[in-house]
Symmetry: D2
Subunit: 388 residues, 4 copies
């Protein structure tokens, strides 16, 4: 197996972007539970995200969601973030919370509503110029609930046209990443339901358009690491939205539901060059902390990604290739499993300490008193949630 | 095939209970869209439900949800309903919208919270006495999101104890029906996830405890009609919650996603005696009209059940038995399909007219002006939704 | 709704290719049941397929599987088929029954085995020249059972190279269709698991390479009609392999498991121009008659496709568009359902008779005595199956 | 976390029964690949199974499959096994490979065929008396492929009657375990599809009838550890058939597809008393080594179970209970994960050596030369497979 020392340079470069909305309240259609200390403003979300980076050195960027994080002065927000040691990252558009979008946004048959949705993305691009963000991430709730309700084919054509217009607005250093999702909130058809659709759409646009892979957005049983390998091969894997799931888009902590799957995904990332310096892949979380504390939930998440990346990097790839080519089924599988079963937590703790970080970021955060502090200070106002 | 005339006496007795909450707003975690005319009070919900019955003669009862339909005087509400031509039906408890129930209700490890949940069911039984309701329906959101978060086994034991206490409070004519659900809102384990659990629990309680089968609450690929046949055989099918789904618990209009499945379910109901006079089976809708109009959505739903019941009754059961016993695979399947492919809409329309009902209840409702009337009249106040 | 008379010209042109192997024995890993009269030779399979066409006028072509249908003289086989009123159709390659292919064929890391697999396809192209076949259909069992067993990414690169070599051999009028499959016989990763992979691969090859969509080869819950619409839009839907399923690749009679899904698929075919004169879409069955009689099973299958095509053509598309654009959810859905619930069997029977065909092809076949005849005549020899 | 030393007494008692058929060839409906050295007789299978026990001390029993392992003198076979250091275990009946059972066995509507199936189980009980086996395991392929093909309800009633007759034949120390399976080889309905059905049937029989849980026989997404907890609670978990799966009943090496799931299952076994001295739970493998070597595959399998049992035993249950009752979601989850992520391979290797076993049983077997020896010696004859 590869030695731990040889992998730390790669681990040192690892960066996982945090979603601002993970620090607000989220829940299910049945109930949104609240917690003391939940941020009320974009600034408080950024402050919380910065805490995750402070304890882990893994999360140097914070993604924003428009309009949830709408502020008057995005340059000021950028400065605020930088003062807290983080940068502003991906801008996420939102066309699913306006009555106008009940039957679609970029796919809508009504040209007025469709233009409104396009204009929203133009506005997001303006924000990106102010924040210095690289990526415009588009996830669409567009779809329908009943067969016949909408014209699947026509919507796909309109989607292509809308994306073309948005793409044309991108600055030279900016990118568009199109996220797909199997279902929800639409329950019959979704307009970008799978990687094939996202790929076919972005391939038409150009080099600055790529696919965003959310690990919770697939049909049951889907081999996600295959898609990772395929998109890397096609040069079109733009970003990850990490989370985990047992059933649908559960948005649980990444690695919580199936740690071995996360390992396999990260192994294909390594195998396909996704950690190389010139890799186009951006890593990000997209989770909902419905019942667990939010900041510790984010810390656990980035640590899970770090630990699994370490395991993936430990795979003895030469030995693996030899076993694969020899048709040694159990031998090859054993080489992979050897890395997976290796307990990297000790070496990672020691390495963290050597860098001036807490050996146990999760425990250190809990002991820091920050959670108690924000619970006491953040009184009054409206806690942030998906609605605001 | 059986002649249409022979089945009308059974169709005439058909009754499908409506859920009061179907007339309020519902949606997804992403957005709840509103519609003009949505009820603001339990009375307005009942008035809307009564409209469905007026046009179809299929929906003589309205189920209530506590606390969503909490009123000071349930006797008065009962009179109000009767004045509108309907009766009050099943009482649905709710232990999923209180901060106390974040980690469970009837399964909670904290005896204070568990007692609170038990007491809520006692209160529901009190309501039943006032409303004349037969069934207390228990659906629990109880579960957990992460492995280890809760003690699966201990919760099951506590559930058994809680149900025992509630069961002991039932009046002689009252029943407890325990609904199971595969997942949501819990994303790792659910305390009553399948019919086996519901059956094992109610079998311990006694004859007045039965299983409620919600057609949207199963794992992908589950053969629901098998469960129907099995529960009828075991004498434990208490009630249906009808709806349909493509993915998860989509709560679409019954019959909309897979009409053939609805047919097969209703065929097993017929086969197993579920339409007989002494049948314990109560039929009910449980749906969310997220994007479609609510009253027309309920009308379409009860008509779908009626049409599929007619098809199921048309099956030539003698011929089917002969083909089955002869091992005539295609012949037996063909006899079933013959009934399914029969267009019963014409005969049903004629039969409705002969009973003084509109031939086309859906069209007649749209033409009645009621929708416009309530849109105009119901101004101000707070539209009913899952939250109230 | 569209009138029946206006759709018969389109129905008249309908052609559904039959797979020769459907007339041989097939089964599961547990057991292959046999039936009297099962063909022992390619000629007998063709004779049986010709019977299906004789009674239905729907099945003018027979697809062959190499090596299962290997004969010394394919020109003679072609003449044999033509004498029986049918033509030879798609050539299906087979790289899954040779010990050499245990770990792959077109994806194999061993260049000798990979070349053997490529050469097999060259041989299939030679057959196509002799039989006059248009399509070379490639379905690969390639994949692996254990994580790490094989190099997913390298296999994809080798697949691209292999396909390139095969594509280069095609004659001007010939096409390559690449079929995808979710899983089986490989249980961890499959090299062409989804439409996205098939599309990405054939898009690299050129205009004569297209995707084959087998209706049983998707993850649970997949919206297949969406893929149909998308591939038609991209100009890459080459052919269908029709069958149906409740669970995995069950290979049941098309329309048997979910007739409404078949209707929706065929509606998108109509909507996307898949029945137009210049459409590239070839329609074919690919089924296993494990427990039912084979010839009647094929007759039932083509009739199912015909009946559902009729229903799809009956949809009032103008009214549907109007309702869709108005956001009339229930109205639009109702227009689609109106066509689905229409019983087209009577009009189709009358139309068949007007063309000199039996009104009830299924019954007419059973009454013809052919089944008894072949059961008596085909004694001795080895019944055809997947193995031969 | 619990110390390793405290768990070795429990590990020492661990016994995992091996299936004789795992040493024969198996495959898919597409192809059965063969390997040199595959046993030709029940004796050779037992000899191979004994090797697994020799290197691991984990597999003291071999399960037999009737008629695959039919011999003239089972007492002699018992002696043969004992001479090789193993005992004969569970007797598995087989009613799925006879033409008579095409449409069912214990559920068949034809009383002659049903009696034949019952008689087969009587014969199995006779074998059990000769072999000293405790368990008669019944897995039925019974089901149907098309709606209407069979009478679901009637079959269930006949199943109950058949089981009653078989149960009545059991000796005092014998047990009947009824295995359920979601689907395959039947593709529409299966007569024992879920744990609920198996439980309801065995609960009617008596204390000597229990449920067999095969880890590969569930719907996608099913929480298997919940079923384990529930059946242990109900006192009805008789045995496990261990294997793993990504899709359907893939029959892969246990722990290979989702090691974390195996951990959770074994944790609930521990939690529910399944490892206690008086536990009724028998542990067994049921796998198909389609592409990997069989004896090493079985060694890897029992080691996977051993390693995961060790991890499950390491969970600090007191700390876990405290965190669970405090509603500390991340803390409780973290306690469980701490045990899962612990690398137990080193301590297990040392402990094995202390018992006179090879530290690395897998490597030791490969180095032993046995595989080469049987490959050379077992020439001629017919390799064992599911057919014989």
């Amino acid at each position: 197996m590869t030695s731990f020392d040889t992998i730390t340079p790669l681990l040192e470069k690892q960066a996982i972007e945090l979603p601002s909305w993970a620090f607000g309240n989220s829940g299910t259609r049945f109930k949104v539970f609240t917690t003391p200390g939940t941020p009320r403003t974009p600034e408080e979300k950024i402050a919380d995200a910065a805490k995750v980076h402070e304890f882990t050195a893994l999360a140097p960027k914070v993604a924003l969601h428009i309009p949830w994080d709408l502020v008057d002065d995005f340059s000021a927000l950028r400065t605020y973030a930088e003062d807290h040691g983080v940068a502003l990252g991906t801008i996420n558009s939102n066309t699913f919370q306006d009555e106008d979008y009940k039957f679609g946004s970029l796919t809508h048959s009504n040209p007025v509503i469709r233009q409104k949705a396009i204009d929203h993305h133009f506005a997001c691009i303006d924000v990106m110029h102010a924040t210095g963000s690289q990526d415009l991430k588009i996830w669409l709730a567009d779809g329908s609930n009943y067969p016949g309700q909408q014209d699947i084919r026509g919507r796909q054509d309109r989607l292509a046209d809308s994306l073309q217009q948005i793409y044309a607005r991108l600055g030279e250093e900016q990118r568009l990443v199109l996220e797909y999702k199997f279902f929800e909130p639409a329950f019959y058809h979704t307009d970008v339901p799978d990687w094939g659709t996202s790929y076919a759409q972005v391939a038409q646009l150009g080099d600055q358009a790529l696919v965003c892979l959310d690990t919770g957005h697939h049909a049951p049983g889907t081999n996600i690491e295959f898609i990772v390998a395929q998109l890397l091969r096609l040069g079109k894997l733009g970003s990850f939205d990490f989370n985990s799931r047992f059933y649908a888009d559960d948005d649980l902590i990444v690695g919580a539901a199936d740690p071995f799957q996360l390992f396999r995904i990260l192994y294909e990332v390594v195998r396909g060059g996704g950690l190389d310096d010139d890799s186009p892949v951006a890593f990000m979380l997209d989770q909902c902390h419905n019942v667990e504390d939010k900041i510790p939930g984010q810390i656990r998440s980035v640590l899970n990604v770090q630990e699994m990346t370490a395991r993936a990097l430990l795979v003895d790839r030469d030995a693996l290739t030899t076993a694969q080519e020899a048709g040694d089924v159990l031998g090859a599988n054993g080489i992979l499993m050897d890395a997976f079963y290796t307990d990297v937590r000790g070496p990672l703790a020691a390495w963290r300490e050597s860098r001036g970080l807490p050996a146990d970021p999760f425990g250190a955060y809990l002991a820091s008193g920050y959670q108690q502090q924000i619970a006491e200070e953040r009184v009054g106002g409206t806690q942030a949630s998906w609605g605001a």
